[in-house]
């Protein structure tokens, strides 16, 4: 299942790093960050709890870019 979230991040490289961090999070099948539209599209694995997974994604993203925001 795919869902799109609004994000806030300043630099393009950080957006790339967030994308990588999100992909590595458990429960995420694939993730893509669109720096220009400030959107993150997350493809969840079958049966994953979106809310919980997004919390982990956010935590992982905060680690690579302390200033980022994800609206979920």
């Amino acid at each position: 299942m795919k869902k799109t979230y609004k994000i806030d991040v300043d630099c393009a490289n950080c957006a790339n790093l967030m994308e990588q961090a999100a992909r590595k999070t458990a429960g995420v099948a694939d993730a893509s960050v669109n720096f220009m539209a400030l959107k993150m599209t997350v493809d969840f694995e079958e049966g994953a709890d979106e809310k919980k997974v997004m919390k982990d994604v956010f935590k992982a993203c905060r680690k690579v870019e302390p200033d980022c925001e994800i609206d979920f």
Binding site: A12, N13, V64
Partner: protein
């Protein structure tokens, strides 16, 4: 941020002025501590957040964090100045200052272009008007149910797809199609959301929910377009991952290896640690890949945004990239190069007024709903008064006979004429021929054929001018008709009498004939019955997609209107955009590597390094914005 930059710059100037006029000498412990304290204060004003972020980076185990590198480089420069006791702290502060100015500018430029592009695509309606108790009420278009009647006043956007129930007006479809000529609409017409109502008040019965309406579909498509990453973007993302660590390690090597060599081999003594450490710090300043990383997606985003303004929707950066490598363009005939509607194109050998002939033919055919009959009605231009017509007799495989205004009229093919005992020659024109006889006298024939779009010929030559090597036309139509259209339009290859399956195999054959694996094959169709071929080609372009979901689903590039000239335009937009991407990549890499080499040789200093970093980024962003301006291409 701007305030901090100003304060820091002012402080820096002040400290240097104090030092310049020799108010307090730099000699002695007091002077040393005094200036160190002042410079550190200035440094902290501009760089404290970087230091904090750098700290967080270390805690999170990310040694190649941009902030950490910047902090390390500037603190290193500070430390060198302290060790050498030359009290030249300006460099560290200036580097930090320029870095922050660069960041500020980048945020501004990116934010600005983001806004520009979204303004360009601003077709989202904010509200819908519903009539309640005789008064208009503005509601969220999301809450309008299917079948509701909405009111659109002049100057407002149509928020939801629907059918016009009352009123007449003209619509500006420029936001959807890039076409500036208004479209006239009347009762019963389908109205597509996203158009702007120009003159009269419209009452529209909605046929779709807001989320399913054309305007929402288009916005969703364009906004998600840059999520499909192109090869250039993937290359840059990969490059950035390798680049920073590589530069950091070479900086470490640069700081350690040459001095060690000197200790071992050089006779003139001195390891010159500070020189090499300084050069290594210069490396760290250049190690941020941001200029590259930001400008590439920005170029694509701008290109896609600019194209959508022209009525060309490109579904992803990857498609934009492939489109720029197009070498072969394959067309479907009907509906793509031709109108797909049958029209009266000529009247031959008429013994009475041409319009009169069409009138008789239309009258005798007035009960038929056959496409030929419909095109006759259309050519006549007004509704046939059916009371004038009687005794209609349809002769299957021949045509129609009947009485019109007391005359016996027969309209049909050659066989019909022969059965009436008339000797008639074959017509040399291509299309369907309707022979007409009145009261047993041959009165001429009407040629009805599919009409080539006015821009088709120009479109083919524009594609040739844009460097397309081969144009191919595929059609299910008869060979004679296809060859005629093909030679009229100067298409290189024509394949006719094809079933839909044959079209796929033809495209596959063309795909296997490609000389270079990078060359792309483009298929252009009307998107309704060409879905399999659209998917098989490297790039599928669907035309005339306004209001057609099937086309938007199947194709990679969607042309909102029917104009085949837009194909060449889409091609030029993609070329320009990719050109900018390559310029940016080449430019940024050259400057960065140039600076690295010069830095290693000790020719440049940290000042040049920070200018290289910030300046490249600014120029790359400005260059990327050029991709937005495509209307004159």
């Amino acid at each position: 941020m701007l305030i901090r930059i100003c304060i820091c710059a002012a402080l820096l100037i002040m400290v240097n002025v104090i030092r310049g006029i020799g108010l307090i000498g730099t000699e002695g412990t007091f002077g040393f501590v005094f200036y160190l304290a002042l410079y550190v204060a200035t440094y902290l004003v501009i760089g404290y957040d970087i230091l904090v972020k750098a700290g967080k980076g270390i805690v999170n185990g990310r040694p190649f964090d941009e902030c950490f590198l910047m902090a390390f480089a500037t603190l290193g420069a500070f430390a060198l100045a302290v060790i050498e006791r030359n009290a030249d702290y300006n460099e560290a502060i200036a580097v930090m200052l320029f870095y922050q100015i660069g960041e500020l500018f980048q945020n501004y430029a990116v934010g600005r272009s983001r806004r520009n592009i979204s303004d360009l695509m601003d077709i989202r309606p904010d509200y819908a008007n519903i009539e309640k108790d005789g008064e208009l009420e503005q509601v969220d278009p999301d809450n309008v149910e299917i079948g509701t009647v909405i009111v659109v006043k002049p100057g407002e956007k149509v928020p939801i797809d629907g059918v016009m129930v009352e009123g007449s007006s003209s619509l500006n479809t420029a936001a959807l199609t890039g076409e500036s000529v208004p479209r006239d609409v009347a009762e019963g017409d389908e109205i597509v959301s996203g158009c702007i109502n120009l003159t009269g008040v419209l009452r529209i019965r909605t046929t779709r929910a807001f989320g399913e309406s054309t305007v929402s579909k288009i916005l969703e498509l364009v906004e998600n377009a840059s999520s499909r990453k192109s090869r250039s973007e993937q290359f840059i993302a990969k490059f950035a991952r390798v680049y920073t660590p590589a530069v950091v390690f070479s900086a470490i090597a640069l700081a350690i290896l040459p001095p060690v060599f000197r200790i071992i081999f050089a006779s003139d003594g001195g390891a010159m640690w500070s020189v090499w450490v300084y050069r290594a710090l210069t490396f760290l300043v250049i190690s941020c890949p941001c200029a590259l990383v930001v400008s590439i997606p920005l170029s694509f985003f701008a290109g896609i945004g600019g194209a959508s303004h022209e009525g060309i929707l490109i579904k992803g950066s990857n498609f934009l990239e492939t489109l720029s490598q197009a070498r072969t363009v394959v067309f479907d005939k009907t509906g793509t190069l031709t109108q797909g509607v049958f029209e009266v194109t000529a009247v031959h050998h008429a013994t009475l007024d041409e319009h009169k002939l069409i009138e008789y033919a239309a009258a005798v055919e007035c009960y038929s709903s056959h496409p030929i009959s419909l095109s006759l009605q259309k050519a006549y231009g007004q509704a046939v008064d059916r009371s004038r017509v009687s005794d209609i007799e349809e002769i299957s495989g021949h045509g129609v006979k009947g009485m019109v205004d007391g005359h016996e009229v027969a309209a049909g093919n050659l066989k019909l004429m022969r059965s009436l005992g008339l000797e008639v020659g074959e017509c040399h024109s291509i299309g369907t021929i309707v022979h007409v006889a009145i009261d047993g006298q041959y009165c001429g024939h009407i040629v009805i054929s599919d009409v080539v779009k006015p821009n088709s010929k120009a479109a083919i030559s524009a594609l040739k001018a844009a460097g397309i090597q081969k144009t191919v036309m595929l059609t299910g139509d008869a060979k004679r008709i296809a060859d005629k259209v093909g030679s009229d339009l100067k298409v290189d290859e024509v394949h006719s009498e094809l079933l839909p399956v044959d079209k796929v195999s033809q495209v596959e054959k063309l795909l296997s004939e490609k000389k270079n694996s990078k060359d792309a094959l483009v298929f252009v169709g009307d998107g309704i019955n060409d879905a399999p071929v659209l998917t098989r080609a490297d790039i599928g372009i669907a035309m005339g997609a306004m209001g057609s979901d099937a086309a938007i689903e199947a194709a990679d590039v969607v042309l909102m209107d029917d104009d085949p000239l837009k194909i060449a335009k889409a091609l030029r937009i993609s070329r320009k955009c990719i050109g900018i991407v390559y310029q940016n990549i080449a430019f940024a890499l050259t400057v960065k590597f140039g600076c690295l080499i010069l830095g290693a040789l000790g020719i440049t200093n940290m000042w040049a390094a920070i200018f290289a970093d910030v300046g490249v980024m600014v120029l790359a962003v400005l260059n990327a914005i050029r991709a937005l301006r495509v209307s004159k291409l």
